[in-house]
């Protein structure tokens, strides 16, 4: 396991989807995509190399996106052996269907979408709910589950509090913990998460909002803060 330390999500990224960046001039005429202006050029080139059977191209693709695939599946299924197997299955599907990739969206989203659907189908087969419809909104079950192994008073120390929150994230339902990972760790914009998961943007925001509110509520006993 590793922990990624980064500056964080807060600063919103500039939108990439401007007409010129997509190879469309201001007059509406299609312009030949310039490599410098085309963020998908490398994705298309890599996909074309794999489809053409160029030696080493597929391994390069797997190496490039294995982290993302692993994170999505691991967050969903939380089982190391299943994660490995499903991640393999994801890339074999990608290999088989890559000729259908049109280069209209980032390869990253396309592969994450395959990983998401492979993991989701696995959970459905095992009858594991993706969303926990029974949990309460005020976060008490989360507190009860997590508090077993933790001293909430001691969580006043920063390290303890962060460990408590990490344990609580692990106990969230698969959908919520995967959305948190995609948004905060992979730094995907909501629109891209929507394409990956097939969920409406409002639904994603709602899940993120409520999960974060639940997590923040865990700190209240130790810090006496008011829930946002």
């Amino acid at each position: 396991m590793r922990t990624r330390l980064q500056a964080g999500r807060p600063a919103p990224r500039p939108a990439l989807a401007t007409g010129c960046a997509q190879g469309v001039s201001l007059t509406g005429m299609a312009a030949p995509p310039d490599r410098r202006d085309d963020p998908l050029h490398d994705d298309r080139a890599l996909a074309a190399a794999v489809v053409a059977g160029e030696p080493g191209a597929f391994e390069r693709l797997v190496r490039e996106y294995q982290g993302l695939c692993w994170h999505v599946i691991e967050r969903m299924v939380r089982h190391p052996e299943d994660t490995r197997e499903l991640c393999q299955e994801t890339f074999l599907r990608v290999h088989q269907a890559l000729h259908q990739y049109r280069g209209e969206s980032a390869l990253k989203s396309w592969i994450a979408q395959v990983a998401w659907s492979v993991a989701r189908r696995h959970l459905e087969k095992k009858r594991i709910p993706v969303v926990d419809a029974g949990a309460e909104e005020d976060g008490h079950p989360l507190i009860e589950n997590v508090a077993d192994g933790f001293d909430l008073e001691a969580a006043a120390a920063d390290g303890e509090a962060v460990a408590l929150l990490h344990a609580a994230i692990e106990r969230l339902p698969p959908l919520q913990r995967t959305l948190l990972m995609l948004y905060h760790l992979e730094e995907m914009p909501i629109g891209e998460i929507s394409r990956v998961t097939g969920l409406a943007e409002g639904t994603i925001k709602s899940h993120l909002f409520r999960s974060r509110r639940q997590l923040r509520a865990l700190l209240e006993p130790a810090m006496g803060v008011v829930a946002a």
Binding site: Q6, V62, E74, L92, F209, Q214, A228
Partner: protein, 143 residues
């Protein structure tokens, strides 16, 4: 978390969303700072060393098998379509051939029609020996 029967959470007020985003982006309370930090540093696993090479080997091993399966399916489909076409053509000629022959003989004369038929048979045979042979070979053997 409250969700409806389809797992949909209740509607969210955009102002609540914006307020929470702002609190995590520029935390004023320690709880928000800790939560933002915990979200950015959540522990995640990584694939084992050599995973990419292993998957690439698996994909390479599967490729010929999948290609052969596809070719087999296409061959059977082509054979089926050729058989359906031949049967349909034979049925149409059996049903309407006599009628067409009588009408054409009335219009062009029976001599002209016999010479025309001989020409058509020659053209058909030469097609069978060139393009037709390729079609039948494709139906009999995978690409």
């Amino acid at each position: 978390m409250n969700t409806d029967r389809n797992g949909m959470p209740p509607a969210l007020d955009p102002r609540d969303w914006e307020a929470q985003e702002a609190a995590l982006a520029t935390p004023r309370h320690r709880a928000d700072a800790l939560l933002a930090h915990a979200l950015r540093t959540m522990p995640v696993g990584e694939p084992p060393a050599g995973f990419a090479a292993e998957v690439a080997r698996l994909a390479a091993a599967r490729r010929p098998a999948v290609a052969a399966e596809d070719a087999g399916f296409e061959r059977r489909l082509l054979q089926g379509l050729l058989a359906v076409f031949a049967l349909s053509a034979a049925a149409v000629v059996a049903l309407f051939g006599g009628q067409w022959w009588a009408q054409a003989a009335g219009a062009f004369g029976s001599g002209t029609l016999q010479w025309g038929l001989a020409g058509a048979i020659c053209l058909g045979l030469s097609w069978l020996l060139s393009d037709g042979r390729r079609v039948f070979e494709a139906a009999a053997h995978p690409a």
